[in-house]
């Protein structure tokens, strides 16, 4: 195994760790906003580390640039969604509330 492959494994494993942690948080945390907090870690760090790990396998610089763009778009989407969903969950209207839905 050469150095590039070792880096790929290292960063992909680190990325997977954040995905698992984010999912565990989504399942185990007590309310909507803490769950949202858990999930944004997977979005940003998990995907970023996986993309970084795979960058060592790219044949040319365009592949690396594309991976970077994928991550950038995902971060942009995650940040926007986190903010909007958090706000929507904060002042939900009573008639839009689900029956017996716990906060």
């Amino acid at each position: 195994m050469n150095l590039a492959e070792a880096f790929t494994i290292l960063f992909v494993v680190a990325g997977i760790f954040f995905f698992v942690a984010g999912t565990v948080g989504l399942l185990r945390f007590p309310d909507t906003h803490t769950r949202l907090h858990a999930l944004t870690k997977a979005d940003n760090l998990g995907l970023g580390l996986i993309a970084f790990g795979l960058a060592f396998r790219m044949p040319d610089v365009w592949g690396v640039a594309k991976l970077g763009l994928v991550w950038l778009l995902a971060v942009l989407a995650a940040a926007t969604v986190a903010q909007l969903v958090a706000r929507a969950a904060l002042d939900r209207l009573p008639d839009l509330d689900e029956k017996g839905g716990a906060r």
């Binding site: 778009l73 942009l76 926007t80 903010q83 909007l84 008639d95 839009l96 689900e98 029956k99």
Partner: protein, 313 residues
């Protein structure tokens, strides 16, 4: 047992699980969430089957349009009949009819798949042999825009007819108006910022996808879907409005793709065969058709999602 096999087995399990959950669930919104998930997993399945073009289309449709369309429909249902859009009084007969149609279509598709000759190469050798004459390097684009172009031409017209059908549902007094709900957002808010930040990137990605389509996976339908989604985002962020249905420019945008396609076909007919592309100009002609189609597909899909108008002219 290899890692790839275990991956595929898990993927199949999840596909069946999400499909059943989407259909059998009691909460309508949960069903939509399951269906959105199902779309992502189907995209992965197409990748595992080596159909990157289809995966690209599924990614664009599933992530960009289906979710927006279904959630919009759910929102209307909920406002109309309350109770989270779950209508308890839905009669059994339509449910049974819908189930019967679904089962019949699935059964026919299954029969068609099972009837395929096992191990036969199909049309692959024929396509590979003639690929150099098609003008493009991506066999899927060669088939869609050259070898069976008449079929793609029909599909582009069917899409237009679908929009005409939706528009036909417009009440008379609203005819010619602006499609969809009147969208608004906080001008300096996160949503409006996102609506300004993403469209330029989306435009670049869409142009890249249609350009790349001649040599690698991509093409007019995928790019058109991306453009439609991005335009819907601009509308949802309250930055711009849809044009009126009566707008001549809009009507022109809707027909330019099929018209260019048909025009090229007729010129071909004058020189020999309808839709026959001369080898020397094939790539230029295919790209011209694809760019025109991308534009029309984008406008058609965006208006299909927007629906009937809110006010008359």
């Amino acid at each position: 047992m290899t890692a790839a096999f275990v991956f595929d087995a898990m993927l199949c399990l999840l596909l069946v699980g999400t499909a059943v959950s989407a259909v059998a669930g009691r909460d309508l919104f949960a069903s939509i969430a399951f269906f959105v998930t199902y779309g992502i997993l189907i995209g992965l399945a197409w990748l595992r089957l080596g159909a990157v073009d289809v995966a690209l289309a599924e990614a664009a449709i599933g992530a960009g349009l289906t979710g927006v369309l279904l959630i919009g429909a759910w929102s209307m249902l909920q406002r109309r009949c309350g109770d989270g859009g779950n209508d308890p009084a839905m009669p059994v007969l339509p449910k049974l009819a819908a189930a019967a149609v679904s089962v019949t279509v699935t059964g026919m598709l299954a029969l068609a798949v099972l009837a395929l000759p096992v191990g036969a190469p199909g049309l692959v050798p024929l396509v590979t042999e003639n690929l150099s004459e098609s003008g493009v390097g991506n066999p899927v684009t060669a088939v869609l825009l050259n070898f069976r172009a008449y079929d793609t031409l029909m599909e582009s017209i069917v899409l237009l007819i679908a929009l005409v059908a939706v528009w036909a549902l417009t009440p008379k007094e609203l005819w010619g108006g602006v499609p969809g709900l009147r969208q608004h957002a906080r001008p300096d808010g996160v949503l409006a910022t996102f609506g300004r930040l993403l469209p330029p990137l989306g435009l670049v990605v869409a142009v890249y996808v249609v350009w790349a389509g001649s040599e690698m996976p991509g093409g007019a339908f995928q790019a058109g879907t991306i453009l439609a989604a991005v335009w819907l985002l601009v509308v949802m962020a309250g930055i711009a409005e849809e044009p009126r249905m009566s707008s001549r420019l809009l009507r022109l945008a809707l027909v330019v793709g099929p018209a260019v396609f048909l025009g090229v076909g007729l010129v071909g007919a004058a020189f020999g065969s309808f839709l026959g592309l001369p080898v020397d100009f094939a790539k230029a002609l295919i790209l011209a058709i694809e760019f025109a189609l991308t534009f029309s597909i984008a406008v058609t899909l965006a208006l299909l999602v927007a629906g009937t108008p809110r006010e008359g002219t």
